[in-house]
Subunit: 150 residues, 2 copies
């Protein structure tokens, strides 16, 4: 689900989120939107570096932090020692593939509703739940084929 979105639209989203729309932020955010495999900061850097050779890792990390802070992107925990990033901030779940290190999105509104209903009754005292997400761990069986939902 790559969504082609123009630079001016990206600029508007950044401004709407309350950030200055610098060239670097636009480039980084645009790159992440095109990458649907939850890339690491390093992968993002490799992607944008050819067209933006003067961009620095300091700027990349700081920009990612800013975009996370204003909820334009999300930081995704992983098992390989580095964080990964996600331009999809809607409530969704992740499939962690232990043999390929892939992280895949798993959206399931039926499941969301079941969980929401369940936790409406089952309160946890002194905690304000912000969101509930599933971490589905598994192994990809046929390495030549992709994992597909349903």
């Amino acid at each position: 689900m790559v969504i082609k979105i123009s630079h001016s639209e990206i600029k508007e989203k950044i401004i709407a989120a309350g950030l200055k729309a610098t060239h670097q932020r636009i480039v980084i955010y645009a790159a992440l939107m095109q990458m649907c495999d939850h890339p690491t900061a390093e992968k993002i850097f490799e992607t944008i570096a050819p067209a933006n050779p003067s961009i620095s890792t300091g700027t990349l990390y700081k920009t990612l932090d800013h975009l996370v802070a204003v909820n334009l992107i999300a930081k995704v925990k992983s098992d390989e020692g580095s964080y990964r990033y996600d331009a999809n901030v809607d409530n969704h779940n992740h499939i962690y593939c232990t043999n390929t290190n892939e992280i895949l999105d798993y959206e399931d509104h039926e499941l969301d509703q079941i969980l929401e209903a369940y936790f409406k009754n089952k309160k946890i005292k002194n905690l304000k739940i912000t969101d509930i997400r599933l971490q589905i761990n598994g192994e990809r069986l046929d390495l030549k084929k992709a994992i597909s939902i349903q």
Copy 2:
């Protein structure tokens, strides 16, 4: 739920898992069993160091890796740049508290059954699911009181 368990019992568990029961492994595993807040490697080190001043971080990390590999403990992803460890390897969920950085266990067999039933029908193609865990994100409301289930 601190379970007081003797060193000889711990030794047996390590041997049963197929590892040599060295002093260091016993100490590290015993310490983690007593710590229920999903400590980082550093916290574990601080805990065991006074009584074991010659233990090295290399050994600690390697031992944690070994214990994870034989499924005696689990590595827990976190948002603060370091991994945390958990002596509870039974299927259970985690509450991530965004304002205090606590990670709490949330066991709920009713929920486990709901999820198991749900994913029995809803297959994901080309994926062998090993486990499904919830990540409950939230904020602790009253910082003077603990979070409590039900």
